[in-house]
Symmetry: C2
Amino acid sequence: MLTYNFEHMDGPIYEHIYKCIKDDILSGKLKPGEKLPSKRTLARNNSVSTITIQNAYDQLISEGYVYTEPKKGYYVAQIHEMTILNPVSGKVSYDIDLPQAPDFEIDFSRNDYSPDNFPFSVWTRLSREIMASKKSELMRVSPISGVIDLREAIAEHLHSFRGMMIDPNQIIVGAGTEYLYSLLTDLLGNDKRYVIESPGYKRLAKIYGQRGIHCHYAGMDSLGIKVEELLRNEADIAHICPNHHFPTGITMPASRRYEILAWANEKPGRYIIEDDYDSEFRTEGKPIPTLFSIDACEKVIYVNTFSKSIAPTIRISYMVLPVHLVKLFYDKLSFYSCTVSNFEQYTLAAFIKKGYFEKHINRMRLYYMRKRKQVIETIKSSALYQYCDIIENDSGLHFLLYLHTDYSDYEIEKRLAKKKIRIKNVSNYDLIGGDAKEHYFILNYSNIEMEDIEKALAILVDILTEHH
Amino acid sequence: MLTYNFEHMDGPIYEHIYKCIKDDILSGKLKPGEKLPSKRTLARNNSVSTITIQNAYDQLISEGYVYTEPKKGYYVAQIHEMTILNPVSGKVSYDIDLPQAPDFEIDFSRNDYSPDNFPFSVWTRLSREIMASKKSELMRVSPISGVIDLREAIAEHLHSFRGMMIDPNQIIVGAGTEYLYSLLTDLLGNDKRYVIESPGYKRLAKIYGQRGIHCHYAGMDSLGIKVEELLRNEADIAHICPNHHFPTGITMPASRRYEILAWANEKPGRYIIEDDYDSEFRTEGKPIPTLFSIDACEKVIYVNTFSKSIAPTIRISYMVLPVHLVKLFYDKLSFYSCTVSNFEQYTLAAFIKKGYFEKHINRMRLYYMRKRKQVIETIKSSALYQYCDIIENDSGLHFLLYLHTDYSDYEIEKRLAKKKIRIKNVSNYDLIGGDAKEHYFILNYSNIEMEDIEKALAILVDILTEHH
């Protein structure tokens, strides 16, 4: 007669009984075809309710260990007929050491995100609702461009908040902007000349490099990327951040925008990739219309990401294609699968459609504005202020600190690193070589505690006033 | 005095009041600096509780519309100071028609998944638990290879159920196998000669094609891909499905496996990509060890996906690199970001670690086994049986039907399509041209209702017995 020990049990009783019987079947203690005790008998022997036994038997039946003969009872199945997964015991071991990122106590270049700022309760509720109400939709294979609910939500959002009038079918959703850039090179071809801004993201050059594209670099002036630099580089595709350039913080004025559009229009095959990555957090002044919205000739591909505007854990980015590229995209690339799970696509769609995205952005913009003010006031009232200028245009998640010093940027970086502090500088992002000006340090303040900022400022003063 | 109309309200009262006040601020009815009524007064005037008003005010404060002066009260903020997102009304419109897939009533080639088979309640509970307990981890940027919890869970799973002894650091997680193949070409180089099986997936050739790689095709015999075909094509990389080939269903026997490994070992730079996509659903017989586990010389890259083993909505795949490729991967590609969201990575890790994945696989294997038996019995007792042979090896989610007919595959396909039925055949997957044998039709039965199967069989009989 089967009786089991309940002493070292964790979890529900039925699961424990299910496990004991399963182990007995796998070990051969219970033989195929053997009749199991009735629910009533087993319940009595183990002093549990028959419902508990029923649950355990149901689980065993659903997994194929046990079958039932109507009006006769429960029997052990011929398990060799269906290779039951037979777990081997043993833990995994680690023998390979992965490269470790250098360890900083205070890091002004990090993109982590404070959990206090993420709308966990709303997100949890929405995803629960989606799982309850969209069961069939969730199980369907997503179109390559993303599910229509999400594309529609994004189109409405762009219309309301960026003044962009687009058809949801112009939108392509993907797992991160890097993935979308890779799709774009598939679409536009890697025989084109791609030009990116310097200073700018080295990563971008690496991503294009992996697609067999040797990027060229265009210098900037105080208004943004220069048209003569695009011409000098014989650019076909200009990949730029006109709305809040990283790292300089430059917002391209309207005059330059029209110059760049005119450049794109001069020759067929020229395109502009507009990366609008942190425009949601423009804290003051009128929002600037995107290049996409003032482009009348289908020359601009707009790219943005929810990894910045919500949190890095959300791996959802999107691009908006000019109408004539939509057809090309589907002709050429519709064999790909969408890279974002339906769960997150539908949850994000609800998050936008129900107004939570707007609320989140407004709340975060306020948070960043206050934090920025606080950081700037702290700098102004610190000993560092006599050695620096603050360069900011009320926009985005970072600003620049110009340091009055004879030390090279490299020297300052090295001395900061010794104190476990990282503050990157604009020359780190120089791609042309010696073109970027020295002494501009980038304060990505959003996720750093005020006391750490004060500590870092004090150390910076020590470094600047130390004798060579 | 502010009083609001509650007639056309949906949602909580505080949200309604918040909205009314916000609208009044945005429209200018409430001026910047204007003092708002006290909570008590506003509550009394609107016949609601002060807590409701408190909630509404809190919302307005958190979004920057209202500020509070301690001991004095609530005031309307200078909203022009911070560009409040100001929604423009208007719906999006659709002007672009996307290409539509042909519409079949019964489609034996579909990969949709019945919602009845997905463990919604477990998945919902686990994701809720993850969101409650892993707030900080969720907000951290994932390593390129995926979070360690998931890689560890996968390593344990592969150890227990596939007998593979691996270090979790050998695993790279990504949004779908297509994405991983693209990473692999980045890793191995696109100057290598890639060879895939024929019959096989055209899509694979397209994916490699986008990476600038012209795929070559190797023919198969009844044991799988032929070594002489790899040699003839001067292959460097052999991309194969040895455990359950699609579409032929062939499982490569041990002798051929060692031949292929020997081929890989003959020359440095040769690798085998082992796609193990539906091995979890092998319904009978001993599970076959993977090529990866019998490879002593680090020549095999193992690839698998949860899109098949759980549901297509889960866009999580992984590959296991041989140890010496791990270092190369991090040296060369660590600038990439991981393409899977932390939410799903941690949820899936818990799903595996807590034993639900094992249960799901066992339940689904049983489901597929029963469905397969039912389908085969239906065929055997149908009028079609005298015109066909069933070719199956108790494995995976499809089997083959060999039709005795003079009609060409194309003709049968066309006639089925007229009746809104799609059954693909092996020659659809012929990549070499005329090499694949005719009359082998692929029954991907898992998501088709029994009555539809009976209907399709009857129509097939009609077509076969019709006069030319």
